[in-house]
Symmetry: C2
Subunit: 329 residues, 2 copies
């Protein structure tokens, strides 16, 4: 068989209702349901070229060859794809992000969504969107959501079979804006994968998980009705609940930095003024400012006035993972 390259693109996503903690860590079945917006304007492009049967996998990230844990994670993922497909070829994975690393944007979601699609194409796995979402989930829990466009929800699931995401509302339902205020571009001391393992050491994780159904309902309703104030309240409460679990776990994970808190306080004050903006923060210090398109320019202007904001990245509701082309030479 001649070598083949499959190329796929996918975007990261920002969770309005966040997943933290795993029901099954190996299968990355999340402890609670989640709801996200796929971040159009940002993307990962991943090309996968098949190598000889039994060849070792090769990983190239943003032009540089990578080994160690990142390669092990990708190779473990590909081993699963090969097992399902009944194939044995190694693969060269070449992945490029359109946005800076360490920007508070979970690059693993876009990376594994694109890789799942490129790999299923290259290894001729004939998967449905739901199966693709389940497959991406094995690489990174939140990658399951990046398969789809617009506003996406993910159920918890009990098993591999029922833990996947599905589209909730299309991108054009509500052109919300995400301004990512980068206050620190250094790598996190404890990454998300490791952090998920600590979630159950917090005395409030179970309560957060059990309350997630309510938060999902409120968030769905706010999105359907385009009720920004309701959306803002539930997005901020959900983000605060996740950071509450993080900081009360053992060891305590304090991802927020003084600059994060400065922005959180400012954004709350802006909303009291009538600016339609709210914050949500993933496992890091950078602040996603979600706002309506009507207030986007004012939000950008205000964020640029902060000395602590080192970079601003912009995204809008975007498209799910897409195959670019397949070249057989």
């Amino acid at each position: 068989m001649s070598p083949a390259t499959s190329t796929a693109i996918a975007s990261p996503n920002i969770a309005f209702i966040k997943y933290w903690g795993d029901r099954d860590h190996d299968l990355r079945i999340p402890a609670n349901p989640s709801l996200s917006m796929t971040l159009g304007g940002l993307q990962t492009e991943t090309s996968l070229t098949l190598l000889e049967p039994g060849a070792e996998d090769v990983l190239i990230l943003n032009g540089a060859r990578v080994s160690g844990p990142p390669l092990a994670r990708v190779s473990g993922f590909l081993a699963h794809v090969r097992a399902v497909a009944g194939r044995s070829e190694g693969a060269k994975v070449d992945s490029v992000n359109s946005y800076p690393a360490g920007a508070g944007i979970a690059s693993s979601a876009a990376a594994f969504a694109a890789l799942a699609l490129a790999a299923s194409s290259a290894y001729s796995l004939d998967v449905s969107p739901t199966e693709l979402s389940r497959l991406a989930r094995r690489g990174s829990g939140s990658a399951a959501r990046s398969i789809f466009s617009g506003f996406v929800e993910m159920q918890t699931g009990q098993h591999d079979e029922d833990a996947y995401a599905k589209p909730f509302l299309p991108p054009d339902h509500w052109p919300l804006q995400d301004w990512v205020a980068v206050v620190d571009d250094q790598p996190k001391p404890i990454g998300s994968s490791e952090g998920h393992l600590l979630a159950n050491t917090s005395p409030i994780q179970l309560t957060r998980v059990n309350d997630a159904g309510r938060r999902m309902q409120v968030c769905r309703h706010a999105l359907i009705e385009r009720d920004f104030n309701q959306l803002a309240a539930i997005i901020e409460q959900d983000s605060n609940l996740m950071h509450a679990v993080m900081i009360t776990s053992t060891p305590s994970l304090l991802y927020l930095q003084p600059a994060s808190l400065m922005l959180m306080r400012s954004i709350k004050a802006w909303r009291a003024e009538g600016i339609e903006a709210c914050f949500t923060i993933d496992a890091g210090p950078n602040v996603h400012v979600i706002c309506t398109s009507e207030h986007s320019r004012e939000v950008e202007r205000r964020l640029r006035s902060f000395e602590v904001v080192k970079d601003l990245i912009h995204a809008t509701p975007g498209q799910g993972a897409k195959l670019q082309n397949t070249v057989a030479t």
Copy 2:
């Protein structure tokens, strides 16, 4: 009957296991048990002079006559004392704090502990220490603890009768130090009394309350054994849990400021270096740094190096409320 003046002194306290939320707001029966250190070196001195029967109460705080809500709160408290004592004289209350207002030190605890003692003396209420603690609690929940010396615990109680504090360990058991890093001396937008009413709007308050017995046990054990690392972990977790409830309540209460977070992060890093210090933060932005006497000088030195620290206040385990004198003229 000739006018009489009773004078009492009391110190504030810092809770290692904090109370937030009331089981009964009017009676100030706390939602969860608590454990505190009485802050020797800081004190409120309160003199109560009886006026004519039926005369309106007068409140003088740090030399200035005060009316409005603070007077109403004191007068309501005195009305209860008079009802129990079967007396009708009004009172002039003259109260002076040895420490600045807005320093992140709950002045109401010392104020109502001193007032309870001065008032019970002036109105000839013959109360036991437990009854005095219950009485002080009606003024301010945490005042019940300031009646006693050293390390003090308070049970929740179901009724007025069983909601009171009691001594746990004497001041000389462990000479812990409290350095209060004042980062903001402005009044809080929402005071504790009002904040307690919001506690039940947080989805995690019930879990925090239900877990309090465990935290009390760990804290008691750490104090008995003088195990600083265990104490530090439970003090910080308890403080973080309270702020987690505050920030996830509706409306969200965000008392922490960027400078608070800067100190929290620094103190965690210091402990990783071997410095015996930890943080705890009440309903405000200022940071209580609890440390061993061995590391107190180093902690002070480091705190003084922060530009955001506007003032440093020092306290050690101190004495409970004491009557100073009673003058009948």
